[in-house]
Symmetry: C2
């Protein structure tokens, strides 16, 4: 079970995103949270605060977005509540089925295990940078990654079944979120930047904007990729890419750089 509160003007803008994309994104971030515990998402309920003058078509678009994102995992919108509000407010709660397994938390990582990621990372941050630079049209896939995340839902329960010891979805940036695993598990996590996925579009867009693509990958949020720690004897399945290892200590370190997690709050590229 997981819940998020999303406010117009803070988490989304009606002039930047379509209601359909807002619905898909709001559903995705909750469904990804369920998958990251190793569960299969089953149902969503939505509390809606809506302005009295909101066009019906806007609400239809939002509803379609929620429904379509849920449909990608075989879940559905089970109900909700509607109240009048000056600005749009979304209170989203998702439920999942653990299939009898205990939930995978952030606290089970142990030295000697490996860190792996599944799904796109840094693409949403790249898309946002492209929107801000007025160049979103040149990299439509990155722009879409910002408007609509595509979490690798099925990788969550699959990782749990293989014995993943810690997992979460990357919503605030890989460094910060893996830092949560390090803190909760009482371990240190070393990330090897050479193993991080940087595809051509990300590299090209970064070069054009004078950015370091690794900054997007390490600190960009909102992709809702999954990051999980596996025992060393487990070979993570195809969708997973090993990007680091767990050691004794604390914090997150990126190999070849001196800073640990705290320093990366002020990452300068």
């Amino acid at each position: 079970m997981t819940t998020d509160l999303l406010l117009e003007g803070r988490h989304f803008r009606r002039d930047w995103s379509s209601p359909y994309d807002i619905g898909r994104k709001a559903a995705a971030q909750n469904l990804a949270d369920i998958a990251a515990m190793g569960a299969v998402p089953t149902a969503l309920v939505v509390g809606l605060g809506l302005p009295g003058d909101l066009p019906t078509a806007w609400l239809d678009g939002l509803t379609d977005g929620f429904g379509d994102e849920c449909a990608t995992v075989g879940a559905g919108v089970a109900g909700g509540d509607i109240v009048r509000s000056e600005r749009v407010v979304l209170g989203v709660t998702a439920l999942g089925d653990l299939g009898g397994r205990p939930p995978v938390t952030r606290a089970g990582a142990r030295p000697g295990q490996v860190l792996a990621v599944a799904g796109r990372i840094g693409h949403a941050a790249a898309g946002l940078a492209l929107y801000e630079a007025g160049r979103a049209g040149e990299w439509p896939a990155l722009a879409e990654a910002h408007r609509r995340p595509s979490p690798p839902y099925s990788c969550g329960p699959a990782a749990a079944a293989l014995g993943a010891t810690a997992m979460l979805d990357v919503s605030d940036g890989l460094l910060q979120d893996v830092g949560h695993i390090a803190a909760a598990s009482g371990v240190r996590v070393e990330i090897d930047p050479a193993l991080l996925p940087v595809d051509d579009a990300l590299a090209d867009a970064a070069a054009e904007l004078g950015e370091d693509p690794l900054r997007w990958v390490l600190t960009g949020g909102e992709d809702h990729a999954l990051a999980a720690v596996f025992p060393s004897e487990v070979a993570p399945p195809g969708e997973w890419r090993v990007v680091g290892r767990v050691t004794e200590g604390e914090g997150v370190q990126v190999r070849g750089r001196e800073e640990t997690y705290g320093g990366w709050d002020h990452f300068r590229g």
Copy 2:
């Protein structure tokens, strides 16, 4: 599973209610919804939108209120989300355990069955009227009923176990809510006003304010009493009071008055 979105200024006021009472009330209305389906409430999650300048003590009071109301049913606050917001926003979702039974909906009432209520009805409306008249101090129990409902949680699963065919919690007024049962079940419900509970405090306060206490009982919301329909061969247990019966037809009628449900929207006392 049930969810409600509560907005400052629309559902509560920080200058009228303490944070503790706001927390208890927000929890109560969701837990009552769970009980009204015949389930035992198990957990609550809360999405909190909070102004940056909100005093920490206010949040502590709110949290205590949520926790104490949950404790009355053996449930707990399992988690949540906090975001910054101009005004306080509460997105509350509750879960319950049906104990293997199907949920009791609004749609199972059949002619020949009886309507019963459990818990206080009309007290919250009386309390609000007393606050508005500046006389809340004279009837402290009614005033408290407005600030803090006291739903008869355990009566919900007990009614379900006895075979209740329809049930809900009275949040918008007995007439309107029983009207939902009549509509969903395709039946008519006759309420006998002589059977409705009007205690001395309610009668006294109504006399002083020149009000009809039955108006509070029939149309007052927010008490979160439970209303349930039982098969005629079931004797509802002690906490339940039979107040009417189910017949063929549609709508809700109060014996001795001509109007059916629609007319009661404009109840004049």
